[in-house]
């Protein structure tokens, strides 16, 4: 598919470094956790998780996102998607734990909402550096129970999402959905592995993408060789046993870079 032209209808300042871009196209078939390739014409094309059927939520971290932040309402970009495999669909009566760190809350907010709408019981642990950096607090609160953690203690529990997680009986959940900084996901993976609930957990990974459609192999992870852009970005915890998660990733040239 060629990129479709999407016009920005609204820009929401979520925090000092995070903005949501609402556009004029709705990906009705989108599964929460799927992503789109966002083409800032003349600059670059980068993968972004869909935060709604018609929005992406972006942290300003590099050249492409900086250019994205220069765009105004009424401007347009190209979109290819929805791509990849999202979180598994929650069912009525299930107990769902959502663990979101930083901008990792973006693909998890639609998941929490879908779970709640399906009749599942949702419990979210939402973490950020400070109260002002918390993303989609209201959306998670509306979907179910919400625990907040901040690094500086300005809101909720002072500390990390893992501090709350360690106090929970993780075996009581039917699915545990995780997205956030890789170091955080690495620690969560260990906790869930020790508690033998990896088969009920899902992690959304972030890697450098080139083609975005499963052909080039730039985003393959060790040791499985699975493609983050097509076999993921959401993987079962079982698929990530003995993987590079939390250890290293590859840069655009394919060189290993420590996390």
């Amino acid at each position: 598919m060629l990129p479709l032209n999407a016009t920005i209808e609204k820009i929401i300042e979520e925090s000092p470094f995070i903005r949501t871009f609402v556009f004029d196209h709705r990906f009705e078939e989108m599964e929460p956790g799927q992503f789109v390739m966002v083409w800032v014409r003349g600059v670059d094309e980068v993968p972004m998780g869909l935060s709604r059927k018609n929005s992406i939520t972006v942290q300003n971290v590099g050249e492409a996102t900086a250019k994205l932040f220069e765009l105004k309402e009424g401007d347009s970009f190209g979109l290819r998607g929805p791509l990849g495999k999202g979180f598994s669909s929650p069912a009525a009566g299930e107990n769902i734990l959502v663990i979101a760190g930083g901008v990792g809350a973006a693909p998890l907010a639609p998941y929490a909402e879908a779970a709640s709408a399906a009749g599942a019981k949702v419990h979210t642990i939402l973490g950020a550096r400070s109260g002002g950096d918390l993303l989609f607090e209201e959306r998670f609160a509306a979907a179910g129970a919400l625990d907040i953690t901040t690094d500086d203690g300005s809101k909720g529990t002072k500390g990390f999402v893992t501090d709350v997680l360690k106090k929970l009986d993780v075996s009581s959940y039917d699915n545990i959905a995780v997205c956030g900084p890789e170091v955080m996901m690495g620690f969560i993976f260990k906790i869930l592995q020790e508690n033998e609930v990896l088969d009920k957990s899902e992690f959304s990974l972030h890697r450098y993408f080139k083609c975005g459609i499963g052909v080039c192999g730039a985003c393959c992870i060790d040791r499985s060789g699975l493609r983050v852009c097509k076999d993921g970005p959401v993987f079962s915890g079982v698929q990530l046993v003995d993987s590079e998660l939390g250890k290293y990733a590859r840069d655009a040239s394919g060189r290993r870079v420590k996390i």
């Binding site: 083409w39 190209g78 083609c211």
Partner: protein
Amino acid sequence: MYTLTGLELKNPTILAAGVLGTTGASLCRVAREGGAGAVVTKSIGPEPKYGHPNPSMVQLDCGFLNAMGLPNPSYAEFVQELEIAKKDSGVPVIASIFGGNSEEFAEVAQGLLPGRPDAFELNLSCPHAEGYGAAIGSNPCLVETVTAAVKEVTDLPVWVKLTPNVADITAIGKAAQAGGADAVVAINTVKGMAIDIESGYPVLGNRSGGLSGAAVKPVAVKCVYDLYAALEIPVVGVGGVSSWEDAVEMMMAGAAAVQVGSAVYNRTDVFSEISSGIETFLQRKGYSDVRDFIGLAHEAI
């Protein structure tokens, strides 16, 4: 078993260069789960290279358009991936290499030898990297020199991958043969371009690139047909092969084996599917071996 330039292949389907070949783990996956008879790595060069900005690959109605720009971690860094592929893939691993001149090609080949590749494939055909690939591969003199330079530093089989973006591909094939190539591989992508009509921007980050997939198959069949007639060495067919029918057609044009690239988009086990389809075809037609129909089109007059 099936022998090609001394390599033992369990079937005549080979993963093409530049596809799922950046890591040892993904090469192993294509071999073990995908069923490829051999695998070719991503093209590796002397220095780390990030490649072109994205979009680097888009799907069109008729195929795929890409301009990756030879991203690679350098031979020094890639040796560890090659070792993994060699240890766990269970199939021959062909190292695709590129350089800006004969010296660089020889340096990269030597640099990868500790990873114990089974053969080298020289990328003299990438259509969109200035100073590399087709920039060298369109000139018969340079093709011969580069091929000879790599043959000089290794006893391993050397395959030369050719560009179709020339007036006469057989002239380039003959130059590779004269340089000592053990096989030629045809074809790399066909120059192409797509433009976003909403904005006027070319879609690829590099503005233009190379076309692969179904659209290029007839181009590849013709190139393989001509090369088979012109050369003494085997021709490996690549370009738009996604089914056993495509593979048989390519072999009837003269391909000793086929490579599959873009078709992994639909399924990574396309290799198993093609090789079992070929087996069924052999039985149905009463052939004892694929050799019975390699080049058959040349006899059907």
